[in-house]
Symmetry: C2
Subunit: 314 residues, 2 copies
Amino acid sequence: MQRILITGGTGFAASHLLEALLQQGETDIHLTAYRDAGDFAKSLVPDSHIHKLNLSDYQATSDLMQEVMPDQIYHLASLANVGSSFENHQFIMDTHTHLQLNLLEAMRNFVPNARLLHVSTALVYRSSDRALDENATIGPDNPYALSKLTQDMMAYSFHRFAKLDVVRVRPFNHIGERQTAGFVVADLAKSIVEIEKGLSSELKVGNLDSVRDFSDVKDIVQAYILLMHQGQNGEVYNVGSGQGHSIQQILQFLISKAKVRIPISIDPAKIRPVDLNYLVCDNEKIVNLGWSPKYQLRDTLERILHYWRETIIN
Amino acid sequence: MQRILITGGTGFAASHLLEALLQQGETDIHLTAYRDAGDFAKSLVPDSHIHKLNLSDYQATSDLMQEVMPDQIYHLASLANVGSSFENHQFIMDTHTHLQLNLLEAMRNFVPNARLLHVSTALVYRSSDRALDENATIGPDNPYALSKLTQDMMAYSFHRFAKLDVVRVRPFNHIGERQTAGFVVADLAKSIVEIEKGLSSELKVGNLDSVRDFSDVKDIVQAYILLMHQGQNGEVYNVGSGQGHSIQQILQFLISKAKVRIPISIDPAKIRPVDLNYLVCDNEKIVNLGWSPKYQLRDTLERILHYWRETIIN
């Protein structure tokens, strides 16, 4: 039995990863949480396996590593909100580089044989009108993406010079229940449900013409588990459905499932200084490893509407 | 007449850039210096144009930008020593990211129409047995290279979202007089001259089989000037001779020009944890812009030996 550590273990994707690992029979799972773990994580993992710490603190990180001694580390800890990053370059950069250095140094010092699955992001690539494979040109468009690229390359760099066992994954957009507001599909679904419940009268939207590769988070975390077991040391893998959909298409589908008429207005504040127009995954490398998406986008979107209907209380 | 600012203006490459700009008739040149400027810079530039400051200090950087109001910024300020970086990850990362953020933010706030030539490095690429063009796979092998990649991408990122006029250049190895010890050719030449002068009895060397693309620094700075004037906004250009030579070949040539017999021993301390074995430039992109190297490697190496013979006093 492998001892598993999930950093950022109480976030959106981590909650689905935790569920999937438990369903596959894993029992020795530890989480880190920056804030208090929510009820969801607490209902699935004993309190003694939830470690509250700030990975930007090296001492706390190395203490954790010595206490848990993981065999496998799913590294999901991250600041998440892209939209706010234009005003906070230095904070984002410092936070992401320090936590990454701390984790890698602590691995090197205390669990040098553990495997790290580093969860990076497709935002490291330069926008292109073609699907992006792992050799696509790097070109982060905003400070958040830049700091994530730095983490990604730091993980690669430690693999190279410290011989750590590191697999990197660059997921494209993923969606599902428990994703928080601030992400486009969650925002749209939440706003629609608020209108259904009479809490709001209008849906405010940003760029509708951007095309993204939306996957069900449950498919994405299956890729993480596959890569933890079968990814090649030192390599990087893109994960996404391979299908592009515009925000407009997503919006129209959600509106078609709404219980009331949804009035729409454009909100200039939701339009970012630079927004990649087309970001779609060439997933051949991970498909060759045996991964394929299982969920239909329309089913996922309906599940998300359902989640918000259960969550928002009027 | 353009007002020019050279950051890191008292370093090795900057000293040659300064000479070349003056020879081409530029007169309004300002330098930044982290420590006191050496006699070389002081002999060429009035004291009032030498600005002593730490670019990691945002206030000092923005004060400088408001005082100088440059049209062109050659950004060479950098920690230089790759070899020591394995012990100092966080310091290197913080220094390079903070100075880069400060410079870019100060440009954005005070000289948003200036052009930045950001001097990056070929070390951002993954080692390959083929010559590397600008689309070669990114893969920094050590913390120094990682921090330089972060600066490179930060410059790109500010071009994208803040619309700054940024050209990046990734030079391969460059050599010449005034390069300090700590770089392979300077080390070899200095050691040989020390033996010639009876100050040492043996030449200690590290990896001899690594192949590098060595250019004369005087050719490299001509590329910088060309790119400042003709580089395309947002683009990146590799600069190197396109010719690979092993350290062994360089060593043999230098020894053939020595005035005494040179005994050699291998020093394990000079062998880095990871050393790229082959790092050669595909220079088609900058050659298409009109650049070509003017100096022969053997002439450059003889000039470097001459420099050390003049510099080392016995």
